[in-house]
Symmetry: D2
Subunit: 356 residues, 4 copies
């Protein structure tokens, strides 16, 4: 259930309600630890007969109790009625702000490859750099990423461009290592219901981007976010990357309406990944523009200096010119991207970078 | 096979090749009857051993023979390398021109309802009026449309607004009646592979809009267009209206990438129907903007003066204010709609209307 | 609504209730015209406030009124609580009886081909002969069937083997012609929501087999049956033939659980078509056995004397030996097929044949 | 590539080829370490120009080199041309032997619950006991299993009934603990592409059952098996448990044809899970019979003494009587189950148990 505090309620009231909840086997999570306005009481134990809700409703410091908060209360609008931004390094995603562009290679392959893409991304107005260090590959024999060396290169690219980094984590035991470098952890589509990984990633102290499984309902996607939030993630970004379908001319089918519908249910930012959604370079920019025109919170695309020589995902990677053209297209539909980090590489940002 | 004529070839050459094709059991279809540049030779008979193709390649009036023209040659870019516009009354769709907006009620319910929507559509910049006279309904007991009376009302709305009319035809025996009034016939998604209907509609002398079946591959969709073209349709417009999927929070899933991919394969215009694609009024405008930002040739939406009182499709119908807001949104992303017919209700157009 | 008559109610009571229903804009359909036990009151008009139901419940000749009969009352168990057999010529399908085997070529190609298959089908224990006269083809250029000549050959095969015939009808204007020969009309998957065709086929006086669309929900399938029943079809057989899916190694995916679930909802017989469900000859017999082991009412399979030379559906057609082996397999799982018509080619049957 | 050794080749020849492969960056895996007949040379490095294959083909101890072994060579029929049994404790699965029945609760809830089900399973002819200790749950707040205590109870149930145990593992760090007790590890559908987990489970020294993801192609499923085999799994069993689909009346759709098709490609045993495939108790037995009639290698079902009180998956759990009835049904279609372990609780088996 969600407890809406009375405007006059203070922190002591929130603590007291938390204590009552604990006795009922529930955990109380505040929407804003500094100044709670709502508390989500979550846990396995139900509230049989609604006694707890009824008790809380009687309190003068409680304005209302929401009982139909759904299966994913922390991710829901019942808990936070307005879209809430997620901070990734200096970049703000969602919360009604301008959309973000995240760009970078599928996999980090070399210093030269990564820096070329990172600088092109910054020039194009991106405010996030993506790049895989550990790659989930369908075949056990395929290139699995450069691992720790890729993390070092990503940190260097961040120093050079000011762009914060999002990179994937594949197993609970990798989380700590990846979280040392990444500004945002990524959970891939195939791991969206890898619950052990969600629990570990949520506890790492970094925001997490969770891709929708290629078969997942919106409710399952929100529950993946709920795992992250219930484990303590300071922010969660939802990323729609296409669902499996029956036509072989495109790889997946982008569920734009689903991405919009999930944002109605949740305060979390929602972005799209048109690269994985189509598997075809020529369709990436049109779908990116589509997503921004529809009002979503950003796009994430794969970019490679020489797509045809890429070790993975070449057919769906933009080259550097195509990335610049996409940025032009974005301006063409009147969208203003979130101020890219590179434009604000001020002492403040430098301080942020050097303090890492 | 597709025969590319030499630039110097004249109509006699085209006739001669047609005659050779006929002897081989094939039919020759010119891309432009007045000035053929390409001929599609179509039919059940294959070209065993490629003898016919080899023979034609030797002719001085033949520049090239395309043998891998695919299953739908008339609909393909092999036949017409560039997007070709389809004229619907005074409205031009596709061919690289500005996108069109088609709007109107799901079903024609009354004179007042239809005229209110038609005028609002004209004001919003629509250049086509949609409206169902014969409705395909899942249940035999549901409202099946006003039939001939609806056709009369549609003709009246056209006289008042200048907007040409697209309306659905459900059975071969209805085609003649509907074609008397409609400027463009519509084949619904459930009839996309009703081959008898396709053959009849293609022969009616009107352009035809064919919706993609909720299960259809792009190739099957193109073959539906091929049925229409092979039967003589003067133009075919493809309309993506969403595929069936597994999540219950939206009704269907719009295949924007598929709509773009089919236009790469075909010279035919491709528009989207965000009303049926989502089943949710609040998602119609975002998806319409998405489709236009992606560069498609138009959108078709359902509008009703009082959606909650609609006899069909109320939940997905825009009201008149929402239609106007959508038009604002379209301008907001920098899209310029095709000049609406109402803006050019000049003597010429009046002549067109009165001559009908 | 469904009116359950009191056991003592007579035909006059049924007529009287029908008359009341008509005044309320509804049509009354008896489960058994000779001795009605239940009446379905169907139509567009709702029963506002439930006044009609309340009135009928008060009558002494009414035992109960069922108000939640669902969208397809005539097809439902509310109307007929027990599985009801459908008679196709001398063959009984469903109703709790033994399963039937229907076999025959995809398309009738020649007299020799058809008779060879028909005799093999009879020997294998089939009690229905299938064969296409009019073929729905994805391409306008493909072989479309022998048409009326095929109907003559089917009639000859019936005379020779005693097997009743099921063959497809594609358009309303074909219905009368096809119904002259066919013992059961077939509605193909792509026409499952061709409502004009359903209405025409239902009125032809023959039982109808309706295949499930490759995208259809169980409720939509039942509503297709409802169209047929509401138009007067003397019997409807449901046929599951596989749904479209994403894996390319089989053509469709057979929904065995859906076939079982629809039979829980409906009194209609349900059979499966493993040929279209898989598109692969080697998988036809295992799936046929699966369907019979699951307790369904029959299987329909495609058979050709030389599958690799078939004009259509060769890859999924059994040859004559494989058909015999399938019959052995059926015995191997302990299933007893419905007595094949050929075993009862008695004067009675001959009379039935000659009287046609 | 797969190297087919000459019948006269000895172990030294296999070692020598392995050494050559290593120099080319490949690993050589023998089909039978004791007496290799085929070697799979696997790894990321391609064989550019086919030089290695050409070299090996020249050797007198090599009968043939298969170059189109597909993406999952170890799982393929190219590596082992015949179905190969997998031993799970005393139970043999696949290899052309009689089918197996695996039964047990969704989750181990208590000693009484587990032992009641285990004894009923043994009586019904099961030769494997299933039961979840660690449960993957869509919600972070749902019951997640009894964990280590459940493993102790499973071991007790094995001692009492002789049935070997299959239980799920959710994270790499759980593998060692679970493998101490389990006779076969289970990878759930949602973890089918959790590659870190596959690698860890494959290295645990136990056979592994891998469920097909609800969105997975057959090739992806085989690649999951390949991960396990490449990590050293002594055996892999494939389990089809239904794919996500669009109809809400059943939970998933069982891909029986896919299960058969994957067995044509692979030597691995393939079983079905009708409980998860349908989500409906009433459909479990019909689908189990269907799978066995189709010739698959076994079924795994969920059983609970009181399904309506189950902490998870109650709606799809059989009760003890229904399990016995299913066993009757299996006999009714002429299937003979693999001799259940309980029938051979001889000193040998006791020795097997006590030696664990």
């Amino acid at each position: 259930m969600i407890v809406v505090l009375h405007p006059s309620a203070d922190a002591a009231a929130a603590r007291e309600i938390g204590s009552i909840a604990r006795k009922a086997g529930l955990r109380s999570v505040p929407d804003d630890p500094a100044k709670p306005r709502r508390l989500a009481l979550v846990g396995a134990a139900p509230d049989p007969g609604g006694a707890l809700a009824a008790e809380l409703e009687q309190r003068p410091d409680v304005a209302a109790v929401i009982r139909d908060e759904g299966p994913a209360p922390l991710a829901s609008r019942h808990f936070r009625p307005e879209p809430a931004p997620v901070m990734v390094g200096p970049t703000s995603i969602g919360g009604g702000g301008p959309p973000v562009l995240a760009a970078g290679p599928c996999a980090v392959e070399s210093r030269d490859q990564l820096l070329a893409v990172a600088h092109a991304a910054a020039r194009a107005g991106a405010s996030l750099l993506r790049g895989g260090a550990f790659k989930p590959r369908t075949s056990p024999y395929a290139f699995q990423g450069l691992g720790p060396e890729a993390l070092r290169l990503l940190a260097e690219a961040r120093r050079e461009t000011g762009l914060p980094i999002v990179t994937e984590v594949l197993a609970p035991e990798q989380v700590e290592l990846v979280a040392e470098t990444a500004d945002m952890l990524q959970i891939g589509a195939r791991n969206m219901q890898n619950f052990a990984l969600l629990a570990a990633a949520g506890a790492a102290g970094r925001p997490v981007m969770v891709k929708r499984g290629m078969h997942a309902t919106l409710d399952e996607w929100l529950l993946a976010a709920e795992y992250l939030l219930a484990s303590g993630a300071p922010g969660v970004v939802l990323c729609e990357r296409g669902l499996r379908h029956f036509d072989s001319r495109t790889r997946n089918i982008l569920d734009l309406a689903g991405a919009l519908a999930v944002r109605e249910l949740s305060h979390l930012p929602v972005i799209i990944d048109p690269s994985h959604a189509t598997g075809r370079r020529d369709l990436v920019t049109p779908l990116a523009l589509a997503g921004l025109a529809a009002g979503l919170d950003g796009v994430i695309v794969e970019v490679h200096p020489e797509p045809d020589a890429a070790l993975s995902d070449g057919p769906q990677s933009l080259d550097l010119d195509a990335l610049a053209a996409m940025a032009d297209g974005i301006r063409g539909i009147g969208a203003r991207l979130a101020a890219p980090a590179s434009a604000v590489v001020t002492p403040g940002i430098q301080g942020w970078i050097s303090s890492r």
